[in-house]
């Protein structure tokens, strides 16, 4: 949402301050660059608190009702990214935040004071219910992350500058396809298994690694041999991933604990 308008107008367009204030553009860009370099799209599975909603819902039912989903749906988020960026540039407004973000349902919920706000609220609630709750429960997949989130699509593109990826050892692979079933983002199919790596939409969550009984799938460091030092690659990826999790979510968790303590001590959530 920042890059294409920035290229077209040679200036930053976003309803936030460049520095300081809530979610300043410069701070966000620094985080996107830093996290892209460190984890790439691994951010979506190890740091994104919105993705956590989707992930939580996708784990509720052990045996999903809908098992076959066309992997072509994984490219929709890239179309959303392109459309949102172009419309944002044309209207000089953050279209996604204004009209599409399902997580407005759980953050920054606006008081309904006009027909426009009512329409937006209906869109937010519908998308949240459908893509974050109902479809993830029915499919066991992270549907919002896979089919809508433009940030995820952007991270998939910036993932190119990251050193970690996931590889499949074709010699060990028995083609049981448990990894395809386990992948929450439709990033694996038969072609990708044959190619030895998932598509660029892979979030490096590690579910396919856990699902593989032949230990044919593993984290890998680009530029190193594919068939050696699996534990090195795994540890070197997982340590910064957990570190990101702790740093990014430590603050909100601390606030949550303080709220719970307040609730126990005073009977109210308000300080």
């Amino acid at each position: 949402m920042v890059i294409i308008p920035a290229v077209l107008t040679k200036s930053i367009i976003f309803p936030g301050s460049i520095i300081g204030g809530f979610a300043s553009i410069a701070s966000m860009l620094v985080i996107v660059i830093g996290v892209s370099l460190a984890l790439g799209r691994g951010f979506c599975s190890w740091g994104c608190f919105y993705g956590g909603w989707d992930d939580g819902a996708s784990r509720i039912v052990k045996k999903p009702k809908i098992k076959k989903i066309n992997p072509v749906f994984r490219w929709i988020s890239f179309a959303v990214l392109l459309l949102v960026a172009l419309i944002s540039a044309a209207s000089l407004n953050p279209v996604y935040c204004d009209w599409l973000c399902p997580f407005k349902t759980v953050t920054e919920f606006e008081k309904v004071t006009s027909v426009t706000v009512l329409m937006k609220t209906i869109v937010f609630l519908t998308l949240f219910a459908a893509l974050v709750i109902i479809l993830p429960v029915l499919t066991g997949k992270r549907i919002q992350c896979t089919t809508l989130c433009p940030m995820g699509a952007l991270m998939a593109l910036t993932n190119k500058i990251n050193v970690f990826d996931v590889r499949i050892d074709k010699e060990k692979c028995s083609s049981c396809e448990k990894c395809i079933a386990a992948c929450p983002t439709l990033s694996l199919n038969k072609e990708e298994m044959a190619a030895g790596k998932p598509s660029i939409t892979c979030m490096k969550c590690g579910k396919c690694i856990d699902a593989c009984s032949k230990q044919a799938i593993h984290y890998h460091i680009k530029g190193t041999p594919v068939d050696k030092n699996f534990s090195w690659a795994r540890n070197l990826f997982l340590y910064p991933a957990f570190l990101l999790l702790v740093i990014f979510l430590g603050g909100p968790m601390q606030s949550g604990i303080i709220l719970i303590i307040n609730l126990i001590k005073t009977g109210t959530l308000i300080n």
């Binding site: 930053i12 367009i13 620094v30 830093g34 044309a90 209207s91 190193t224 990826f237 910064p240």
Partner: protein, 149 residues
Amino acid sequence: MRKILSIPAYLWAVACFLLVPVTFVKNDAFAKQLATLSFMKVHPVYSGGEVNRTYEKDSLLITVNKTVAVTLVGDRKQMVQVSFSKGKQLPGMIDQTIDYDLDGNSDFRVIVNTSNGETNLTPIDQTVKSLWLSSRLKEDWVIRVNLEK
């Protein structure tokens, strides 16, 4: 050769462990550096545009900016930013008529209650449509008015 190539890859991977805390701990410093890069320019929709005229009236310093197109395509929809300041303390009430296009005729009247932010805009010229924003900005009070040409 493969071993030699592996060394920078492993070093980069190890550096990622440091990169995560550095990104967050040094975020403010990096953000300030990023924002001051010579090619970083804020779009006038968010900066408010260039200053057109500054004058004093009723002991208020009034700054009227140049109009800014609020869409990328076409310039029919525009906005103008006007700011009011009076040293370190703003008056409780601002009541001014503004000539944003410097044609010698007042274009709108604005009344702002600075204690609660209540703002009333009365269009005089037909290009003036509505109030977009009315807010305190450090020691100034800033309003933005939607225009349609």
